[in-house]
Amino acid sequence: MGRAKAKSKWSNLLCVIVGLFLLAYAVVIVYPLLWMVMSSMKSYNEIYRNVWALPSEWLVSNYVTAWNVGISDYFLNSFLVTGATIVLVLLVGSLAAYGLSQYKSRLIDVLLIVTMGGMMISPQVTLIPLYVLLNEIGVHNTRWALILPYVAFRLPLAILLMRSYFLGVPKELEESARIDGCSPLEVYWRIFVPIGKPIMLTTAMLTAYYAWNEFLFAIIFIDSNKFKTIPSGLMNFRDALRTDWGVLLAGMVIASVPMIILLISLQKHLLRGMSEGAVKG
């Protein structure tokens, strides 16, 4: 009895410690983010004089300035690059996933290994030759300089996810469609695309997350400011603003909003995609 009591005392203490730890960890994550939002509405002088204080006057104008100074262009570019990457990854990827899941032969097995092998090669390692290649084919410093490599590097994972999903589609569906006279392309379009919508949404989220945040290619394959996406554009933005911290912070908040919204609204799909495609950018 005494022992059980002592034990429960210990476990109460442990609960308190664990609770404090979870709280502290949450504060360490949330506080800097809230600080970013709060300070984005302060002036430079106010940030410099007192980092903790709330703004004496909430300068929403910092957001207008940030948007006009350049964030709007970066936003547009990020949207275009991310959108095109998603469309191409879904289209090219689902076609390949269909071919790789519905047919069997020695060659298909080899092609499957070749496709999946793409995952072993990290973007960093292809950086120098890709730079040369993109220059040679004349797309360097255009949005295609990002879209094409993004699509290529996202394809293996997208195909992996969609293929395993397609493997679960009942054979009878496909066979009956073929007996009805559907061509393979029609089977793909009428059966696999509709059935595959959930996995395609997951893949789209995963691709959006990657393309929106990709940094290495974005700073190297695009030189002119007007084609830069948010991650690389922010670098220019910072250098141009020098000490205009409030505006810089406002720009940072604007840049983060779409992904936070995506996380909160489509949490299930994003998280599922990230856990199934356990590969670090």
Partner: protein, 297 residues
């Protein structure tokens, strides 16, 4: 059935062709080129390449910055495994405890939030955190009476590498935690209940039920964390403007970038890329084989 297969013989390859072309042109061709480039000296801005044999590889062995980079990559790997893999596992196990059922969903989203924020935003945010005079960290130390500990975290060669590594931990623990949460949720309920009926306490249940059940996730997360550690580029590039002060916080990827695009020695940069390729390639093959064994079980 046979008739169908014959008739549609070419179809599968046509479906796969576009993807194959993309991979061939933008992944496989560059990786082969990279090996060829490592035998040349050339500039990003001119088409002429000079064959230099094994010179780049000789330079690589004598390059002290490569060693500094490797040391930092290894530091990255060790610290990330401790904080992200073990830390992530512990946090996930706590969050999946019955007692926390109410708050766990909220905490999960909070801990995961930094993962979806762009790396440039996070690095800029931490330049404010680490700022020598008005930074949140130094101001906080001042507030709790530890002003003597305040220092220009990113400006000193002995703190810069760790300050940079800390930012990555801040961002990524949530990601690994999520992978463990998913793995723990897949553990059959009966196992936990049986252990509980047998009188196993929380620690006991963690070590004898949770840990063996998430073994595979543990392998995979360790591998992706270590692989990621040898590819690190963004954080030192932004936070310490290319691995400074001096080369104290440089990583292999940053050294490669600077060699190619700053010192305009693209051949040498390709040679550094080979080092990264070899290290991450071994880890990638390991991961692939582990994944496969996982699927078959």
């Amino acid at each position: 059935m046979v008739r169908f297969k014959k008739r549609y013989n070419l179809a599968p390859y046509l479906f796969i062709l576009p993807a194959l072309l993309m991979l061939a042109v933008f992944i496989y061709y560059p990786i082969i080129q990279n090996f060829i480039y490592s035998f040349f000296r050339f500039s990003a801005f001119s088409p002429t390449k000079t064959f230099v044999g094994l010179d780049n590889f000789k330079n690589l062995l004598e390059d002290s910055v490569v060693r500094t980079g490797l040391v930092n990559n290894v530091r990255y790997a060790v610290i990330s495994v401790i904080f992200q893999v073990f830390g992530g596992l512990v946090v996930a196990a706590i969050l999946e405890d019955k007692l926390l059922r109410r708050v766990a969903p909220l905490l999960r989203v909070i801990y995961f939030m930094p993962v979806v924020i762009s790396i440039s935003v996070i690095c800029f945010l931490f330049t404010f955190v680490y700022h020598p005079t008005v930074g949140l960290l130094n101001k906080f130390l001042e507030l709790i009476g530890l002003k003597s500990l305040a220092k220009p975290w990113l400006g000193l060669p002995n703190t810069a590498p760790f300050a940079v590594i800390a930012v990555s931990q801040w961002q990524s623990i949530g990601y690994i935690m999520l992978l463990f949460v998913v793995a723990i949720q897949k553990i059959p309920q009966e196992l936990m209940e049986a252990a509980e009926i047998d009188g196993a306490g929380r620690f006991r249940r963690f070590f004898s039920v949770t840990l063996p059940q998430v073994k595979e996730t543990l392998f995979v997360t360790t591998l992706i964390t270590v692989t990621g550690a040898f590819l690190v580029f963004n954080e030192p590039y932004i936070l310490t403007r290319g691995g400074g002060p001096g080369t104290s916080s440089i990583t292999l990827a940053v050294h490669m970038y600077l060699s190619g695009f700053f010192r305009d020695n693209m051949g040498y940069a390709s040679t550094i890329a080979i080092v990264i390729f070899l290290i991450t390639g071994v880890l990638g093959v390991l991961q692939a084989t582990l994944f496969r064994t996982g699927k078959d079980e």
